[in-house]
Amino acid sequence: MAERSKPKVAVWKFASCDGCQLSLLDCEDELLAVAEEIQIANFPEASREVIEGPYDVSLVEGSVTTPHDRERIQMVRKSSKVLITIGACATAGGIQALRNFKDVKDFINTVYANPEFIDTLDQSTPIADHVKVDFELRGCPINKMQLVEVINAFLNSRKPNTPPHSTCIDCKLEGNVCVMVAQGTPCLGPVTHTGCGALCPTYNRGCYGCFGPKETPNTNSLSSWLKQSGANDDQMMRAFRGFNAWSEPFRKESESHD
């Protein structure tokens, strides 16, 4: 296939740890084959080459935390036919959204160097707060096989096959013994979006919600359960205030314990 006719894919980074875009390079078995099918037009972590837009698919990692990035995401949207956000930073503001709960003065008071050198917004916000997003892929980090599926789906103009059920259901499918029932370990599985295959319970620990809330999660009922098994408000607040703290359902639940 001639270079020109291949779909152009770009990867954009906002405030993040780079983990989600690294998932692409972690597709060791698929990478060269995928690269045959697409043109990697802008992926600074992997290549010096920058090919001008417009792009057929843009993958966006990270959250918006600076005035400059607030402008840049508009430019990304304008130059992209399809915009897919990858990971908890991009879909929910990420762990850095913990700043959103603090009075920024708390931070300023701890400043000791030269604060005038740095520009930042007082909130870390998801990409969808700023521009239209065509698809959101969850996880901190995303599941790389889901990423391959989503890219494939968009390039073939079909709907990605990424189920919406809870991590709790995954556990049942895996045949795991429930860590809450068996060990009394707090677990966010019942309210967390699937995607990891119930990794944490498989490793003998409770889910900490890194794939974010599932659709219409009953966070309230989970909190009652946590309370019954001895959790205090601070523990419940922290349980919901993690990598997806700024997602609406988790935010509301954590605020009710604050």
Binding site: K13, S16, C17, D18, G19, C20, L22, S23, L25, D26, E28, D29, L31, L32, A35, I40, F43, P44, E45, A46, S47, R48, E49, T65, T66, P67, D69, G94, I95, Q96, L98, R99, K102, V104, F107, I108, T110, V111, A113, N114, P115, E116, F117, I118, D119, T120, L121, D122, S124, C140, P141, L199, C200, T202, Y203, N204, R205, Y208, C210, R238
Partner: protein, 444 residues
Amino acid sequence: MPGPNRFEKKANLMTKKTRTIKVDYLARVEGEGALYLKIQDDQVVDVKLKIFEPPRFFEAFLQGRDFREAPDITARICGICPVAYQMSAVHAIENGLGIRVEGPLRELRRLLYCGEWIESHVLHIYMLHAPDFLGYQDAIQMAKDHKEIVQRGLQMKKAGNDIVAFLGGREIHPVNVRVGGFYKVFSKKELSSLTDKLKWARDAAWDTVLWTSQLDFPDFDRDYEFISLSHPDEYPFNEGRLISNKGLNIEASEYEDHFEEEHVAHSNALHSVLKERGAYFVGPMARFNLNFDRLSPLARESAREVGLNGACTNPFKSIVVRSIEVLYAFDEALRIIETYEKPERPFIEVENKEAEGHAFTEAPRGMLYHRYKIDGDGKILEANIIPPTSQNQKTIENDLWHYVPDHLDLTQEELTWQCEQAIRNYDPCISCATHFLKLNVERV
């Protein structure tokens, strides 16, 4: 593609004038950085490695969290070396609580670290750094001419990822590390499922050492202060004293007496310097030079085979040293699996108590320091984290000050590319470097 040796000096066509080298968005590094370099006549007058990656303020929001959350939270500073953050965090906290994790659990932590060194180093060798030496924009273009080599690199990287995914549950932000040990441990038989692939990869790592040693290197040796952990019996991962070739020899609790951080206008990352002597160098070359005799015999043999015997002072050759460390990590992983016995319990119980703890461990890119202060309820009162890239930043700039004057005869495109390559010698991880606290807030 460039000629046989792209570093060879060409006829001196230099004319007196002002030149600037600018790279607005450094590629093939993790995170967001830029380079600005100004030359007047034949003098370099300004070098700035600019870091504009937005800070994420980890140390601020760690305050008030339970210390048991620190390994998972700090992992998110960097998706390339999450294990390093998890290891420095648990060791610092355990140091404060006065517990020591020994025996098979300690070995499993080394094994996990081997996996991370491999995936991070191989990513850098094959996908981020080698394309510079061979004149490609990226590894995918390189694969058009060198498919087998790129495939070998990808499969080696995968072998490292397999270790992390097996022990940790997934390659990026593994879920199995906790203060006191692991959530789940494996039988010897389960671990041995990794062996065949690792043996293949160890051979591939040997070939990688030979392959990288045949790349073209410019003559560029400097007198650096190398700093790394050093342990009497082993090549350092999680434990040891911090030493240098210029007389430093301290434990983690003394770290902040000897180092300080400078905040400079052009960088969102702090420059870390030695109070007494300024810039220093951490990472594979520092470890290699300071711990050569504690590499495995096989890794040492490979080094000698390519003419390195523990005194490498040319940062362009860091790609060879990284390859030797990859070989070591495969060798060490196989040793650990072979001698492993499943521990009785996956972790040591820990209890809340008022504490202050410090630790440094060797992240793929060099020493990573953590300090935590904890109250009697297990809440973190204070956290301090110094990643490798903030430590190397000044040395990277110094390299450019020295490198550029001897290469002014290059075209703009060539000189720019070589400056980028000189930066990539350090595998800088800019996401790591800018996790810190200081900020200027604008309301949304």
